[in-house]
């Protein structure tokens, strides 16, 4: 089983090193790919020094375009499992083992590390929590599957999903959108409880002012997405 950990990173020079080091420690058998999404700082250099493979995008494509680059890489290099981990240190690499277990057992195609199930001690802002509850309601309604944390970017996917993602992946704010698309194509999605840390450096890509626009755009994408034929 070839495992690739994909880390999309935009200006994460403060944390990328320790993220890579911890992944190496917990998952020595996995390869690590950093997709540097046009960072203006030394993210790329720091990642290279830590021994990760680095793809430098010439300008900021946004999280969707950056993640897809990682999935295309995974497909071209014949990986069986791809795990996406944020570059800011929120995701604890010790959970990667748990995330890939259902895939190894062929119980799921996609495993989402959810910060909302039981043991998480993650605290987030009120606005963010409202958004998360709203999306989990919307996605659960549209897919007939209960989702607690639709915005988590801590995920593992198998080869079929790698192939699908490398062909089509939503551009903006892809985490929520992708769940609906996957369910529509009958991929099996499982949510697992994980602990998440506060981000250890850098800034969240979601600011207060943008949240409303974000919610509107994602909702629209989800609702129109359900009208799309699944062959596409």
């Amino acid at each position: 089983m070839r495992i690739l950990v994909i880390i999309p990173a935009y200006n994460e020079e403060a944390t990328i090193k320790s993220v890579i080091r911890r992944i190496n420690l917990k998952m020595p058998q996995a390869d690590i790919l950093v997709v540097n999404d046009g960072s203006k700082d030394n993210t790329s250099l720091e990642a290279r020094r830590s021994g990760a493979k680095v793809i430098d995008l010439p300008y900021n494509l946004g999280i969707g375009g950056a993640m897809q680059t990682g999935y295309i890489y995974a497909k071209e290099n014949n990986y069986d499992i791809a795990v996406q981990v944020d570059g800011d240190g929120q995701h604890d690499p010790s959970y990667i083992k748990d995330l890939i277990k259902p895939i190894l057992n062929d119980d799921a195609d996609v495993v989402v590390g959810s910060r909302y199930i039981s043991k998480s001690n993650y605290r987030s802002s009120v606005l963010r929590r409202i958004g998360m509850i709203f999306f989990s309601f919307l996605v659960s309604t549209l897919t007939n599957q209960k989702f607690k944390d639709t915005t988590s970017g801590f995920r593992a996917v198998n080869k079929d999903v790698i192939n699908y993602f490398s062909g089509r992946y939503p551009v903006d704010y892809p985490e929520v959108d992708v769940l609906v698309r996957l369910k529509k194509r009958n991929f099996r999605i499982t949510e697992l409880p994980v602990e998440m840390h506060e981000r250890q450096g850098g800034k969240s890509s979601i600011t207060t002012l943008r949240s409303l626009y974000y919610m509107l755009k994602v909702s629209l994408a989800l609702i129109i997405g359900t009208l799309r034929s699944s062959e596409e």
Partner: protein
Amino acid sequence: MIINVYSLSIMFSVLFLLIVIELVRKNKLQERYSLLWILMSIILLVLSSTPVIIEAISRWLDIKNPPSLLFLFGLGYLILYNLGTTVTVSRQSERITRLTQELALLRQKITDKDS
């Protein structure tokens, strides 16, 4: 020549048509994008030079002031054309993204080989 909405509209369509042709001639506008602009100016030219047509349509649609049909036509055409343009922009942005990804992947492959 009497200056009214029709004569102004005729002058505008002729001038617009000339500008479009000039842009295509100078390779600043591709033929495929110019076709709909040329079509628009010709329709506008025909409508404004033969008032009988829009007067007939106005009676049929119960429009009190026939020249406002010219505006309606212009507005509708622009809205549709603009929609078409954003479709083109979407397609191009998707292609640019793909190109960017392919470029970055290729560059990674090359540096990988060198080291």
